[in-house]
Every structure is written in C-alpha cells, then in structure tokens.
Point group: C2
Chain length 643, copies 2
Amino acid sequence: MAYEQPHVDVAALTALLDGRYADVRELVRTNLVKYAGVLEEQETLSTDEFRDRVRDLVVELAATGQTGMGFPEEYGGGGDIGASIAAFETLAFGDLSVLVKVGVQFGLFGGAILQLGTKRHHDAYLADLVTGRLMGCFAMTETGHGSNVQALGTTATYDAGAGEFVIHTPDDSARKDYIGNAGRHADVAVVFAQLEIGGESEGVHAFVVPLRRDGAVLPGVGIEDDGPKMGLNGVDNGRIWFDHVRVPREALLDRFASVSEGGEYSSPIESRNRRFFTMLGTLVQGRVCVGGASINAAKVALTIALRYAVRRRQFEATGPDEEQLLLDYGMHQRRLLPLLARTYALHFAQEVVASDLHTVFSGDVDDERARRALESRAAGTKALGTWHGTRTIQECREACGGAGYLAVNRFAALKADTDVFTTFEGDNHVLLQLVAKGLLTDYAGEFEDMDQLGMARFVAGLAVETVVERTSVHKLLERLRDVLPGGDEWDQEAGLLDPNYQLAMYRFREEHMIAGVARRLKRGIDDGMNPGEVFSRVQDHVIGAARAHVERLVLEAFVDKLAGLEDGDQKVALGLLCDLHALHGLEQDRAWFMEHGRMPSARAKAITREVADLCRKLRPFAVDLADAFGVPDEMLRSPDLVG
Amino acid sequence: MAYEQPHVDVAALTALLDGRYADVRELVRTNLVKYAGVLEEQETLSTDEFRDRVRDLVVELAATGQTGMGFPEEYGGGGDIGASIAAFETLAFGDLSVLVKVGVQFGLFGGAILQLGTKRHHDAYLADLVTGRLMGCFAMTETGHGSNVQALGTTATYDAGAGEFVIHTPDDSARKDYIGNAGRHADVAVVFAQLEIGGESEGVHAFVVPLRRDGAVLPGVGIEDDGPKMGLNGVDNGRIWFDHVRVPREALLDRFASVSEGGEYSSPIESRNRRFFTMLGTLVQGRVCVGGASINAAKVALTIALRYAVRRRQFEATGPDEEQLLLDYGMHQRRLLPLLARTYALHFAQEVVASDLHTVFSGDVDDERARRALESRAAGTKALGTWHGTRTIQECREACGGAGYLAVNRFAALKADTDVFTTFEGDNHVLLQLVAKGLLTDYAGEFEDMDQLGMARFVAGLAVETVVERTSVHKLLERLRDVLPGGDEWDQEAGLLDPNYQLAMYRFREEHMIAGVARRLKRGIDDGMNPGEVFSRVQDHVIGAARAHVERLVLEAFVDKLAGLEDGDQKVALGLLCDLHALHGLEQDRAWFMEHGRMPSARAKAITREVADLCRKLRPFAVDLADAFGVPDEMLRSPDLVG
C-alpha cells in the first residue's frame, strides 16, 4: 500500500497525550496563562523580589487546588496521586522556579509529612501546608554527602530524661545544603539525621524541626543562603546547621519507627537496611515528577525550534530568489525530528510510570515487588528524561542561532533552570546504578535486604560475592537466546518497521548487557581483585546495561500505546514517530549491535536510510506534532523566533 | 618493555603548551589575576554597571599592551599577529564578557579597519582604537540574515552630487542585530551594506559610520538594546538601524574597491564573488580566536572537575570506612579523561592554525591557496573547538553535582557565556559546509570564483553541475586505496598504539566520506532531482565529511607535536593522551568503520578495552596534566569544589 501522508488533528492528539487527567492539565494551562507575567519577572525583579513573587504565586496556585491534588481530601487535598503528577508535569511548561518551589513545598516537604508521618503529624501540618500557610523544606542532602544518604552526619540524640531529641550538626560537611525553601521562606524542616539512643545508632530517620518564627530564624539554627545559582533563582536554596536544637519526642516522623518515652526503639520492619529503603521508597514521587517535568520542558523547546524552522529562511537552495526554510534542510530535520520522536516516546513512558505510582500508592496492597519495580522504573525514567531535557533544549537553542541566545526568547531560562535536573533527586549515574542493581538482584532472587543506593557499595561490600555466586550466568544466557523470536537469521529478515523486530533488538541488547555485567563481576571477584577495582572497571558496563533496560521500557510503552489505538491518521502519524524513535535508537548504538553479531553492515546502513526517510515523511506535519503538546502560546515567549 | 608511569613536570609541560608566546601568555595571566574581582562583579553589579566595568577593564588591559599586539607598531600596536592570538586565547581563562568585548573592539572592529581600510583609515582610527579611546562595533549580521551575508539588506547608495553614501535600513529584517558594543559604548560602526551606484548594485562593502557623539546617538541612527542574554551580559549587544544616514565618500573601507568622486566603481579584483570572499577572508582571525578561546574555557572546566574528583569521596568502595575518590571510578575516568586528551589535541591543532594565520597575514606573499587552506582550517577548528567547549563544560558541571550549579563555583558563568560560541562567528554547521565545499572544489580543481558561504547555495546554484562533473569520482577512489600503507589486512595487523595506524584510519574515513558525498551529489543531479532536494538529502553526509577532515587535521597536529619531542617522561605522558584521543575518536565512530569493512568487531572491542586501559594509566597524574594548562588558581573560583 502506498504511503499516504496522514492528516493530524492537533486537538485530538492533545487529548490523547493529556489522557486521563486532561481536565487537570487544562486547569494548570489556564493558571499558567493567567500568571504568564512571571516569565518576564524572572528577569526584571531583584532576586529577593522574585523569590517572594514565586512564593506568592505558589500560594495563589494552591488556592486553585492544582498543587494539593495528592493529599487526602480531609486535609483540603484532591485525594488523587495521579492527578498531582499530571498537574506538576504540566506546570513545567512555565517558569521552572515556580515548578521547583511547588515541588519542594508539596512534593518533598508535604510528601515527607504524609508518607513518613502518622495521623498526629497529618493533623498538625497537612491542612496548613496544602494551602501554603505553612512553608517547609526537606533537609536531606549534606555538603559532604550528595547521593549517599546513609552516610549523612547530622545526629538526633534521644534525651530520655527530657523526652526530647537533640538535633546537631557535628561539622561543616554535615550541614544540610542546597535545601530549597530554606534560604528565606521555610518555617519548618523535615530533617534527616542519624538517630542515636543511649549511645546506639539506629540509622537515618526524619524529624520535624522548626526553623523560623514570624520570619526570624530560631535559636540554635544557622541558615546561610546558597547564593546565586546557574538558574532557578526564584527558589531560595540554603544551608542549615543545628547547634543542639531540641525537639519533642513527637517530632520523629514515626510511620516506620518510633521511640518510646523511656527510649525504647521499635519498628514494624526488622532489617535496618530495609527500613531505610522503605522510608526512602515512599519518596519516589519526587523522581517521577522531575522526569516528567524535564520531558515537558523539552516540549517547550521543541515547539519553539520547530515553529522557528518553518518561518526562518536561510540561503537560496531551490531557486535564486527564495531562501530555503530551515526545516527543509536534511541536517535540520536530523537535528530536531529524532528529538521530537523521543519526546513522544518518553511522554508515554512517563505515563506508565505515573500510572504505576498512582496504583502502588493508592492501593491498599503493600506489594513489595511492585514497589521495587516502580522505584527502578522511576529512577530510570528520571535519568533518561532529564538527560533528554538537557540535550533537547541545547540542540533547540543552537537551532535558533543568535536569537536563541537572547533572554527574551525563553531558552536562557529553560537551559539554566533545567540544568540541575540531571543531578538532583539523585544523580543520573547513581540512579542508573540503582536500576542495574535491581536487575542483577532480580536474577539472584533476593533483594529486599540489600543496600539500594549506590552500586559501588553494593558490589564492593560483603554482599557482592554472595550475589554474584547466586547469579546464574547460565540462566542469563538461556534467557538471551529466548529473546529473539525466530532462528538466528530472524532479525535480519524482519522488516525494519516491524515493532517486533525493534523490540527484540532492544531486548537482546538489554539481556546481553546484564549477562555480561554479571559475568565480568564474577570473574573479577574470582580472580581475587579488590572489589572496588572490579566495580570501577565494570561501572560503564553496569550503567550501559541499566540504560539498555530503560530504553526497552520506553520503547515498549510507545509500542503498547500504539497497539491500543484505532486505525486512522493519528495512528499512522504516531507510528512514524515510534519507528523513528526505535530506529534512531538502533542507529545510535549500531556499533554495539554489529559487535555482537546482530546487525550486518548492510542492515545498519538501511537503518540510517530509513531514519532519513522517516524524517522527510514527518517534516510536513512536524509542527502539528509539536503543537499537539499543548504548550500555551504565552509560555513560548520567543517574540523573535515564533512571533 | 614494561610500562612505567611517567613523572610529569608541570612547569615544563606548561612551557611546552605556552610555546613561542610564553611571555605574552604570562602577561595575560598576570593581568587576569590582577583583575580577578571581575568574576564576582559579574554577579554583584547591575547590568549597566557591569558593562561599564567591563569597558573600563578593557581600556586598562589595552594600556598593558595585551590587546593591541596585532596592530602595526606605528599605531601603538605590537606588530605580531601570533602574539595577539596567544593573548586572546589566554584571556579566555577569565571572565568571558571581557574576552568578547576585547574581541569586538580589537578583533572585529579594529580588524575591519586594519584589513579592509587603507592608510587614510588607519591614520584616522587605529591609534585611538588601540588605546580604547575610540570604541567601535562591527555591524554585519542582520535580524533576517544570520550566516548568509551576501543576502543582507542594508543599502549604501552613492550620491554623486554630494559625494556621499546614504546608509539606509529598508525594513526590520535588515536591522543590524546582536552587535556587540552597539548597545551602550560604540562611537562608530563598521557597517556592511549593499553598495548601489546609479541604480547598479555592486555587492556588499564596508563603511565607517558614526553612531554616537559624547554618548548621544546621532540623528538618523536608531539603536535598541538586545536586552538580557543567556550569558555575556557584560557585553552591550544591540540592534542598529539607519534612516538615510549620510557619510562622506571616504567612509568606504577601500582596500578592495573604491568609488571615484564621479561615482565610478573600481576594484583590483574583477570577480564580484571573489572580491566578496577576499574581503571576508581577511576577517578569518575572529574564527581562530573564538576556537582558541573555547578550548581554553574547556581547560578551566577540566581543571576544576579533575581537582574536585581527587578531593571528593562518594560511597564506600574499597573498605567500609573510607569512601572512594570520584576519579577512582571507571565511569568518572571515562567521562573526563577523553575530554582531557581531546583538549590537548585541540590545543595543538589550534597552535597550527594560529601559526598559519600568523604566516599568511605577516608574509608579503599573497598566496591564494594558503589563504583558502587557512580559512578552511580556521572554520573547522572553530567548529570542533566550540562544540568541545560546550560539551566539556557541561560534562564537568555534571561531574561536580549540585555544587557545580551554584554560581559561586564558576560553571554557571562558564556555561552561559560560552554557549553562543557554537553559533557566532559563523554557525558551526555552516562552517563545516564551507570546509566541505573546499574539499570538493579542491578535487574539482577550481574554487577561486565560487561562493564560499553556504554549501546550500553552492550545491543548489548553477555551479553545482559543473563542479560535480569535474569531480572525478575515479580519482577519489584511487586516492582512497593509496591511503592505507600496506595490503588490505594491514590495518588489522597494526598495533592500536601505532600512530601510523591511527592516522591511516582517520585518513581513510575522510577520503571515503568525501568521495561518497561527491558520488551522491552527482547521482542526484544525474537523476534530475531538484538541487535543493539533493543537497538536503546529502547534507549530513557533507557535514560528516568535513568533520572527518578536521578530525584528521587535529590528530595530525598532535602526532606531529609528539614526533618533535625528545624522548622522556613528558613524551610518554603526552603519548598516552594522544593515544587516548585517537582511539577514543575511533571508538566513537566504530560503527562507521565496521560498516565500511575497516574494523572487525574483535578489533572494535579491543579499542574499547584500550581506551579504558589508557584512562587508568592517566588517572594518577590527570590533575598534573590539567594543572599544566596553567589556569591561574584565582580563575577557578570554585571554593566549594577546589577549595
């Protein structure tokens, strides 16, 4: 059947993308437009004025209900976790200081009270924090400890005589650092500290600690502004330290552990490690939110760059009198359209992780395995989504030339504000190590009791030999063979546009890389090498395996979405995007497939040709596909680029 | 012979890197330290205050002689073009608004007066502009025309009655835009405009046009500030438009064309195209400067990230009590050390292009071929150097985690300020097309009369068929076979660390890609396809070929440098860097080599292993290699990262 260019109904495609929470997303869009002035205020106000403006705006948004959707209705919330993710993601079309301030107040601070606290804490804080009357911060990260939370230095020593915890910062490296909302606005902090009772350490726990009253910092508390940042200057990040600050016994957020008046420690979870990771696991929402926000920030950049590319002419190409549109250049298509396709893929992958989050956190079933799967998927999607955001915004800015450099054209703020997303809520490399660890321990058949943060500790610690021993390399290799649906030549005969072919290739890479990592770890340990050295040598392979895993999940999400659509133009258009995403991914990693005997060079070249062909097919309606993201015109703010 | 870790003498390596102009570089370093306060002022002053501060600083630097080294001694300059490049590059260790302001005033404005003007203009302007008493700008780019200078819209109509040119901006798209120094400080502009005499157009020429007197904008001139930018906010970029502004006949910079009182046009260069490109060719210094500056900005980022990576510990890996240093992680080595090696490679490549520039512009011989080779090399090195700068700074920032996001730690400014380097002084993609055109026309044996800016016009215009016809595909394929020094298997038997092997691979790729481009262009035209369409389809191949060419030049520069060194530890250390650079380049493009039958997959895997091995060998003295760049400590400005 000859190819016929599909007609894209932009509104219908927006409805598909918006999905279940279309009304929530519309509310947020309306609010974004209403407060569009903040995009300019970011430039024109002084830092303090802008921070206060952002705080006020967050409170005003709270009044519309959009920021409290994840909290129980009895405290003024919306009682729908999925809705709260949708609202947050959509907010990322606008100023990102507002987004991050919302994330800190309702996601991190509010989320900690909700997830780690019990009814006492909910009653005391939720209603006020949902309206923004009570501003709070989330004091986990320390100057000397970034991604390694278990090693943090702040202490909370129980004084049984007084029935109080004494919160203390022993040295500068134990200062809480980069804490959003701390510099200026937070009244109270959820502080993560090493709990000590009678000289015994019980590990990291969270405490509610007042910071300010009527705007004045309380005695024993030190706060220092983190100063100007690359971006997000509407958020007041700061450093906090405590000099023997006393809080009542009730300040311990005691859902997973409590301390009796007499100083007896008890917890429903016996293993200390498992308790720690259960606590952290409840905070997974932050990662889901950051990943989704990055994907949506990429949509803003793409909308600007694509609209510009069909307006701007450069050099005569088709005739002496008319310069050619940028998007008619093959190179320009190559730069932007695979990013557009990947944005769609990540959008649908994000839809899956957000829906999983909703299911796990709304359900009464405490399914450990589903939680672990969610945490892994959230970590992986966050890493891929944030890297994609950084890369897409950079490419789009360059594709808009000098005008893209002027602050009036949105890119300056977009770039600077999103840049930290790759390192906050968990450094992307550390997150991918976490994903890899899950994959390996899945095979090994045990994981509940294991350190989740940091492949380094995991591989290097005592656990490594056990795990690697139990990881049956044979079993892995068998699974590998099962991945490809037919004989050895199957993949070379399948059509490039067959989703089964594409998925089989992604799966093969994933399984092969995981098996390879397990083998290399085992061999290193068997050879008597220092575990740190073993890990150091295998680390890029570990991260590559995790990435391959998440890439497969992303492609699957897109293919699944397509499979559920009715035949028609929309499906054809999305099918082209899905093919472009899948094949561009194979093209980028074709060296690996060739090295592993799964892609003859003629086929690799065919894939490259197909990618170019898909770009040409998408070019006529590429702007429609971007417009379907539904970024409000007011949020583009690029007078020189899109008019 | 067993490998023995070399001892790096940092001072001796700095001397090698500084080369011929070590004293000039030392002067600039001294000045950088003296005015180090500007790194803070960039944050603390208001925009207007900071711009004035930068202007004052530029004038103070001028008094030390460092900014005027490229001008003739009789006008207060240093009479040494190579010295002026060395000074500019070194200045890139510091605040980049200062750098760009210097580039605008002395490179673009001063360079135009010097290169396009004659004695009359030199006498009138040089002495004053060398001291900074006269501030000027370079008004070429227009809102509607970025890289396509021949199409610009500003007109200069000769009024023979009055003996004056009338400078006029016909519409908004013809406004001069993004012009540095225009927003606030420039007294005068060199304006590029279409010269019209008696209704005849003579093409683009340059005119000296006054903009301000005593700070007030002159009648008929409109100036608008470009507003806040992503970075470089110490430079006052602006838009300029002219409403029938009259300037005397002598305002034409008349080295390459003059207009008699009666309105007779004459030029020593007959062809209009050639005249245009000869004019532009004299301005090549700007590209050489921007490329060198980007490479040096990358050095600052690497110095910070590497020093941080041997201070910061993260996660226990070797024992339960001590966290491992970041640089001991294989992934961290992989992220930073190939960038370090490439920075060295680009440094030496830049040394060659700067030296070529000095030779061509200092010599009396007007060797057309040398000029074209210089222009091509300058364009290519600028593209690779600026992309490398952007990528390195980004990777280093991420490798420094959250602290890298705080403005106090230098990355914010480094990132924001350098971001535009990839698009100014010629968009990198357009520049690589220029390189490709040179390569193709070299084969075709004629180029002098051809449009140099924009492969698009070149391929699409009438010239294309002629060129492609004359491009002997046979000849190309023969050359290709000659590239490999031995039989068909030679490259598979050679040692990976043999520079002849590495260079042969780079050469093979280059020749093969150029031949492929020529073939594809010819086939498209032969098939009767629209030339614009042909070009669009081949464009990424065109750019790939140019990139392959420049990569070969870069590797050759490094290999040549090594060959000239005496045996010893320094040569061993640089040899490791050169191998890492060469093999990492092959690794990254191994798909291409596999597709073209020049790299069996076992060899590809061996290269990957060798890259990891080289990283491990370099790790113990990686910081020494960065320290040898000689970035003054005061320029690192990262208290949280390097203390």
